[in-house]
Symmetry: C2
Subunit: 358 residues, 2 copies
C-alpha cells in the first residue's frame, strides 16, 4: 500500500524525514507458546466447539502438513532461532507473552496449572537470556482468587513485568465485579495488564463468521476495543485509578474514537455515572503499542492525540515479519526523542524493564 506523504509536525521537514535508529529496540507484544499449551489447543481444535477462536487455533495448532509458513515452530522457539531473527533486524529485546488465547479456553484447573507452567518456562527463557528477553505473565481469570496468587508469584518471585489477558474469558469482560480482584492485584503490583485480542465473544460473533472476519483482519480489534470501552464506561477505572492497561494494534482504534466517546459518553449524559471522560481515562490508565499497524500516519495521529509517552513499539512476532516491523519505525517521521521513547524508553518505564546505559 502506498502511504501518502504526510508532512507531520515532527520537528521540521529535514529532521522528520531522516531515517534513524533508536539506541535500543524493545519489542513489546511478542508471542510464544509451550508444547503443553499447544497440545491442548490442538485437541480443542479437533472438537465441535463453535467458538469463533477455534478456526485460528486450528490453523496454528492443528496446521496442515503442507502449511508453507507454519507458525507453531516459531511460537515454540524461545531460544536460538528467535534470537537470530531478532539479531538480523537489530532487535535487542522481546517482551514475551504466551500467545492468544492463552489458557482462557480451558477449565479453571487446567488453566491455572498451565498458566503456572507457562510462567515458569518464560521465566527460564528470561534467565537464560536476561538481556534479550523479558516476559509478561499468563493469567487465568477463570478463578480470579487463584489468578491473583499467581500474579503475585509472577511479579514477586519470577520478576515478570505485567500480565497478558486475551480479552474475554467465557464471554465475560474484566469490568465484571468477579474480576475486580485481578484489576486490584495488577494495580497493587504496579504491573500493567496487556489486553490482547482473541476472536469476538459468542454474544457478538455472528457477523464475524463470514469472510474470515473473526481474527486479525477485523474481529480482534472490535473485541478488544469493546473491552476497553467497557472498562471506561462502566466506571470500574474509578476504583483502580493507578491501573495501567496496554492495548496493542495502535490502541485498537480507540484513540481515533476519543472525540466521539467523550461527547456521547460524557459523565452525566443518559445517566452515566462514571467520573471521567474517555480521553481522561485513556490518558491516565492506558498505553498502546504499534503491533500490526505499521502506518506512520496512524502513529503520528496517536502521538498528537494521546502523547508520545503512551506509545510503545511492537512487532507481533511471529504473526508479522520482523524486518519490515523494524524498518518502518526506523523510517517513520519522528524526532530522535520520540523514537527513543517509542522504541524503548516508554517500555522501560511502563513495564519496569531495566534501562541500559548507553
Amino acid at each position: 500500500m502506498t502511504v501518502k506523504s504526510t508532512g507531520t509536525s515532527a520537528g521540521g521537514d529535514g529532521a522528520a524525514r531522516k531515517a534513524g535508529r533508536a539506541s535500543r529496540m524493545i519489542a513489546t507484544e511478542e508471542a510464544c507458546s509451550i508444547p503443553e499449551v499447544a497440545e491442548r489447543l490442538g485437541q480443542l481444535s479437533r472438537s465441535t466447539w463453535d467458538s469463533l477462536d477455534i478456526k485460528l487455533v486450528g490453523s496454528i495448532y492443528n496446521a496442515p502438513p503442507d502449511d508453507p509458513n507454519p507458525l507453531l515452530p516459531q511460537l515454540l522457539d524461545i531460544g536460538a532461532g528467535r534470537l537470530e531473527t531478532m539479531d538480523e533486524s537489530g532487535v535487542d529485546m522481546h517482551l514475551l507473552s504466551l500467545t492468544a488465547p492463552g489458557v482462557q479456553m480451558f477449565d479453571a484447573d487446567t488453566a491455572a496449572a498451565l498458566a503456572t507452567l507457562a510462567n515458569d518456562r518464560l521465566a527460564e527463557a528470561v534467565t537464560a537470556h536476561p538481556t534479550r528477553f523479558a516476559a509478561l505473565a499468563t493469567c487465568a481469570p477463570q478463578d480470579p482468587r487463584r489468578a491473583v496468587r499467581e500474579m503475585e508469584r509472577a511479579v514477586g518471585t519470577l520478576g515478570m513485568h505485567g500480565f497478558m489477558i486475551n480479552s474475554h474469558t467465557g464471554n465475560e469482560y474484566l469490568d465484571q465485579q468477579k474480576y475486580w480482584p485481578i484489576l486490584e492485584a495488577a494495580e497493587a503490583l504496579n504491573a500493567p495488564i496487556y489486553i490482547h485480542p482473541r476472536a469476538p465473544s459468542d454474544g457478538m460473533a455472528a457477523p464475524f463468521r463470514d469472510y474470515r472476519l473473526d481474527a486479525a483482519v477485523w474481529g480482534y480489534g472490535i473485541e478488544v476495543g469493546t473491552h476497553a470501552v467497557r472498562l471506561m464506561m462502566s466506571g470500574v477505572l474509578d476504583r483502580f485509578e493507578n491501573l495501567k492497561i496496554v492495548l496493542g494494534h495502535m490502541g485498537e482504534a480507540v484513540p481515533f474514537w476519543l472525540w466521539r466517546l467523550d461527547y456521547m459518553g460524557r459523565p452525566g449524559r443518559q445517566g452515566r455515572t462514571q467520573k471521567l471522560r474517555a480521553s481522561e481515562y485513556f490518558a491516565r490508565n492506558f498505553a498502546i503499542t504499534t503491533s500490526g499497524v505499521e502506518d506512520p500516519l496512524a502513529l503520528r495521529y496517536c502521538i498528537d492525540r494521546i502523547g508520545v509517552d503512551s506509545i510503545m513499539w511492537a512487532i507481533d512476532h511471529p504473526y508479522q515479519p520482523t524486518p519490515p516491523a523494524a524498518e518502518w519505525i526506523h523510517a517513520a517521521p519522528l524526532t530522535d526523542e520520540e523514537r527513543e521513547k517509542i522504541c524503548h524508553g516508554n517500555a522501560e518505564r511502563i513495564f519496569g524493564i531495566e534501562a541500559v546505559s548507553a
Copy 2:
C-alpha cells in the same frame, strides 16, 4: 477535551492555522422524520422487542414529558425552525435524510409504504426551499425489488441525490446476494448509498447491552464499520465497481484500520478471493463525512490517508448542536482549497448537488 497542537501539513504553519470559512456550507448527514414514521416507532418502543435499537427509539419517539432537550420536534421540523438554526451558523444547505432506523424495523409492506411517503415529504421540503434543502431517499431493503422501483422513482422523478440505508435489515447486511439488486440500482443511477448507523445487529448485540454502549457512543461505529468491512472482504464490490458508499462519523474508524485490513485481508491470504485490498476498495468505492467527530486530528489523518476529495462536512443535526459543528470546521487547520472541497465541493460532485456560482 483539549486538542493538542498538531502542526499538520496543511500548507505551512500560517495558512494552516488561519480560521477560514468556505464559500458554501452543505451539511451532508442531517436527520429528519415525518409524523407517520415517528408514530410507528413510538408504538414499537412500547413493545417487548429486545432489539438493541429499541432503547434509543424509545428515548426519541416515546420521550418522557420532562425531557429537557426533546429531539422529536427538531426531527419533524423540515421548515422554519430548521432554517433558523442553519442561518444562525451560516449553513447553506442540509442534505436531509429520514433518521435511523429509517423504515427498517417495519414489515416489508409497511416499510415500503412509509418509504414512499417519506420520500414524497422530503421532496416537498426540497421543492419549498430548493436552495436550502436536498435529500437522500429512504430505502426499504426488506423487499429488494420493490426498493429498486422506489430508488428509481426517488432519483428519476423526485430528483433525490442518493439513498440512506441504516446498516443491517433484519440482521442481514448488504453483501448478501438478495440485496445485490439494491447495489446494482444505486450504481446504475449513479447515486451513493449512505450507510448510517443503527444499533448492532442481534448476533453481535450482547456486549453492547451494558453501560448504554448500544448507540452513538460505541455500538453505532462497530455496526457500520463491520458492515463496510463485509462489503470489502466479501468481494461484492468487484461486481459493482462504480458503486459509491458513504460512511459518516469520520468513516466509522475504517480509515484508521486500513493498514491492518490491507495486510491481514490481502487477496489470496487464507484463501481470500476478493480482487482488491481494502485501501483500494476504500479509494474507489467509499467517501466519508465528518458527522459527530469534530476532531481536527482525525480529519487531518483522513485527508492524508484517503485524500481530501473523499471527505464531506456534516453536522448530524439534531444529534449534534450546529454552532460547534460549524465552528470546528471553520477553525480546522485546512488550506482554503481543502476547506472548499470538504464544506461543499465534494458533496456537489459525489451527491450531484448543483453548484452555485460565486
